[in-house]
Symmetry: C2
Subunit: 556 residues, 2 copies
């Protein structure tokens, strides 16, 4: 089989105005970025139409390092729905350059289930991440400048400044730095650092805003730190929100591209799910729902991370609800959770599948807690045996959940028609919206406990002394009724990445908090999770190239 | 009179395909970015056609903090040439966000001589700066990762790493940092810092490359530092150039926009002239010359910085030469150089103009040293008196140089027809290419002395001990035959910003060197010049805003 990039480069792309026409969007409403990308105006959002659309969330079991193929499945499912005659759009996140140059590679799907032009989507795209970075780093410069300058000093205590810079790069050296060295002209030295852009509050704000005014309000509400006399300082006190919003004037508009089978794909916003809310922008989801009858979307990593935040943060904030959830699993991952080593996953072992299904059970129970019907999708690999698939099916039968096998990677939409039909079936069993895990009025500690116990299966939640004192401060400042966005490893249901399967009798340790007052959530940081990744020993950047004609290779 | 942004927002823009059509570029060759911006393919460069085009360089006397209006004059001159029936394009640099949010504001011209859409051009534009930043910072991450990782360690000595990160922001706190703190997982702590993107080597490389292959070669040639055993390490040793070039795949293509009078404008690349080579990309200049009979371009700050580097670095590298030079002066600035305070510049004072013309004389002599005919352009302000203009004219008469008054700011092309005719006259006196200030085979120290003496009017050049030892190393490594790109204040011909007019009997102090082995030049750093600016007490970011409909205000 060809590589992802080879398949993508052989694709017959339609002009983006033809893709838009499928959604009844006229050419003059497009801001074209070349022939195959466009930004769309926010005026296309229509809440009444959106309320009638069928939103389908694709999530996954706890993934292996290679991922379960949620994006691939989402794209495949959209192609499958189109193949059985439905008016559909897929709505996804934008890839981050960190993983592209690191270990995971791009995030535009795989095989015959991809969004294209994949090189553009994976590399810089329409510049949204960069605009987010600039808005984030402008605020940092304005804060430090206010501390340095006498002209209109707010009296900010540099020791209290929580705002970090960000960069869309896996760069461990920037995690923790001392800035502003070099004497008086260099400013006041501070302990600070960079988060990866996908984990920045500006990314979260962009993804949760309903329009430009809402965006600007949220930017103004960013909590920066305190004055020497203990007064909270917000971005609006620095008059930062106007310039920051101006920087985001294009980034707020969703991007339209297409799948390999010319199905419309919205790609907008890109927060990670382990260290941020993990789902594309509200604006793109609502636009998709305004223009298509079926909208497939995904939320990052396992259902403990992406799906939980999708429901409790995004859907609650946007007033939307999915009508079905697809839980993606691979036979490989089930064996991994069942105790097989990464190097042995190609060996058939139905017993390991059964043992590993404990992890799947937990995620099915989590989805059930949201009261939305589920379908399990087996993202098929060549090595999977019928016996292994049957083992999985018998587990799902216990839950009354249908299992569909997806061959989207090898066959595109032709390989996902069965999945599409199973999803249509599930949509028929949909109720009236979802049930959240916690109430916003619950005390913060209770919200954390509800997520940790209901979704992760934890026994206790332990807050460090630092976390406790931060929490007191945040509650004083009136942030107690915000939803929570727990930063936790994606490798385990627990905060210890070594605990595979369905761990029991474990505690969750909240090391510290961050606050995203503008985005509107509190971030309890669990275990050792870092908000700026590093590169691996052999970064994939090494294998990438571009020839004299501009053809890119080595990008997957 | 309306503000710049009000004028720009009232402009009647033509669709970018109509602007391209003026240059005989077909619609399907455009990569549209919305309706009013496009990227053009490098295949439009035609060296034979370019050789017949008339390249006109716009430079200036030593500017006041407000600038002399070179960009405004360049745009006005292009409009004026179009108004007298010439097929013309203007080729400019892209604005940096640093000045936009700092003190100077945007860089898209002013009054009725602007390029549009000015908001887009000033904010993010087509993403070129961000792509440059990413390529720069990917290399930084790969270097630090190689030091951290055992997998394929090159044995880089972290104390020798010269590569800095960059950010397009005025942020003094990033000038000097200690990175990679936090223990083993954070890497090896290093003293490092950020340059502003306009001063980064990647910007220089992008602007000097002739095509994608040349770009990749130059990226591979970036000198990173040394191994513990003293061996030089280049970006190619880290296999970085392929991924870096892939990140720059769109940034290498020139951007087409238009002036307020719908004249084609290429805007591509944006190095500063005080801390970098100060002129737009070779690719854009050559493309403009391939498509238009007259090409107006500018080089940053005074002729001591922008013009010197334009000739000795860019033109020599690209094998091109301007056929005329326009030296922009304002009556205000001449009075400033003649001893008036910034607050008194509106008071008529022909004597101060005469005294301040010493600065203009030096720049005229510099231009004469390149053997290219000059025209002096008075960029008119309302307060200018006829007597003051006459004082300036009498100085220029001594040099046999014509003086034209430009009213482009107030009247657009209608106000620059006289300037356009004067330039056409000068083109008729053009010789066979320019004479450089130094030979590439001159020893480095001699190159520096030739520029400092011929162009700045300095007496001696003094190298610090650090600079001397760096120079020895760079010569050992074979960089001795590169041109030089001196980093020096723009506020004086000397390296002391307080010395206005035409200083004499001064020395130039070279504090240290940087090397841009990929771009292909050595950077002697003179005096206290910094390669990362700071924000002023009241940053212009504070006054910027965007309304619910996306209309931006407070950007000038």
């Amino acid at each position: 089989m060809l590589s992802d990039i080879e398949i993508a480069q052989k694709a017959k792309l339609h002009h983006i105005k033809e893709i838009a026409a499928q959604l009844n969007v006229a050419e003059d409403q497009l801001e074209q970025y070349g022939k195959h990308k466009a930004k769309l105006p926010l005026s296309l959002i229509d809440d009444e139409k959106a309320a009638k659309s069928n939103l389908i969330l694709v999530t996954a079991i706890t993934p292996t390092p290679a991922g379960e193929g949620k994006t691939t499945t989402s794209i495949g499912l959209a192609d499958g729905l189109a193949a059985i005659g439905k008016k559909v759009a897929v709505v996804l996140r934008e890839p981050s350059l960190g993983p592209v140059f690191g270990i995971k590679g791009g995030a535009a799907g795989g095989g015959y289930s991809q969004v294209v032009p994949m090189e553009d989507i994976n590399l810089h795209f329409t510049g949204d991440f960069s605009a987010i970075e600039k808005a984030n780093n402008l605020l940092a410069a304005l804060i430090d400048n206010n501390i340095q300058s006498k002209t209109r000093s707010l009296g900010i205590d540099p020791r209290t400044v929580l705002w970090k810079r960000c960069m869309d790069m896996n760069d461990r050296s920037l995690r923790k730095i001392v800035s502003a060295l070099g004497g008086k002209s260099g400013g006041i030295p501070m302990e600070t650092g960079f988060n990866i852009t996908a984990a920045s509050e500006i990314m979260a704000i962009l993804c949760l805003s309903n329009n430009l005014e809402d965006l600007k309000d949220r930017l103004g509400n960013i909590y920066v730190g305190d004055t020497f006399s203990g007064k909270a300082v917000y971005a609006r006190d620095l008059k930062a929100q106007g310039a920051m919003a101006a920087l985001l004037k294009d980034a707020i508009k969703p991007n339209l591209v297409q799948t390999l089978e010319n199905v419309p794909a919205f790609i907008h916003g890109g927060p990670f799910a382990n260290i941020a809310q993990g789902t594309n922008s509200v604006i793109a989801t609502k636009m998709g729902m305004s223009l298509a009858d079926y909208v497939v979307t995904e939320a990052g990593f396992g259902a403990d991370l992406g799906a939980e935040k999708f429901f409790n943060i995004k859907c609650r904030n946007a007033g939307i609800s999915p009508r079905a959830v697809v839980l993606v699993a691979t036979i490989r991952a089930l064996k991994y959770h069942g105790g097989k080593a990464l190097s042995e996953l190609k060996e058939p072992d139905a017993e390991a599948v059964k043992a590993g299904s404990e992890n799947l059970r937990k995620h099915l129970e989590t989805i059930a807690s949201f009261k939305v019907p589920a379908v399990v999708c087996v993202n098929r690999f060549q090595a999977d045996t019928d016996e292994e698939v049957e083992a999985l099916k018998s587990v799902c039968q216990e839950y009354g959940v249908e299992v569909a096998v997806s061959d989207g990677f090898v066959k595109g939409g032709e390989g996902t028609k069965g999945l599409a039909r199973a999803v249509i079936g599930a949509l028929g069993r949909s109720g009236e919206g979802f049930r959240p895990t916690y109430d916003l009025k619950d005390p913060v500690r209770e919200k954390i406990e509800k997520v940790c116990k209901t979704v992760y299966g934890a026994k206790y939640v332990i807050l460090s002394n630092k976390a406790k004192s931060q929490l007191r401060r945040f509650e004083e400042l009136g942030f107690g009724e915000l939803p929570i966005c727990i930063a936790k490893t994606q490798k385990s249901l627990s905060d210890d990445e070594k605990l595979l399967g369905r761990p029991v009798n474990f505690d969750i340790h909240i090391r510290e908090f961050e606050i995203a007052a503008g985005a509107g959530f509190l971030i309890p940081i669990a275990g050792n999770i870092l908000r700026m990744p590093g590169l691996p020993g052999i970064p994939s950047a090494e294998g990438m190239d571009i020839d004299a004609n501009g053809n890119i290779s080595g990008l997957s």
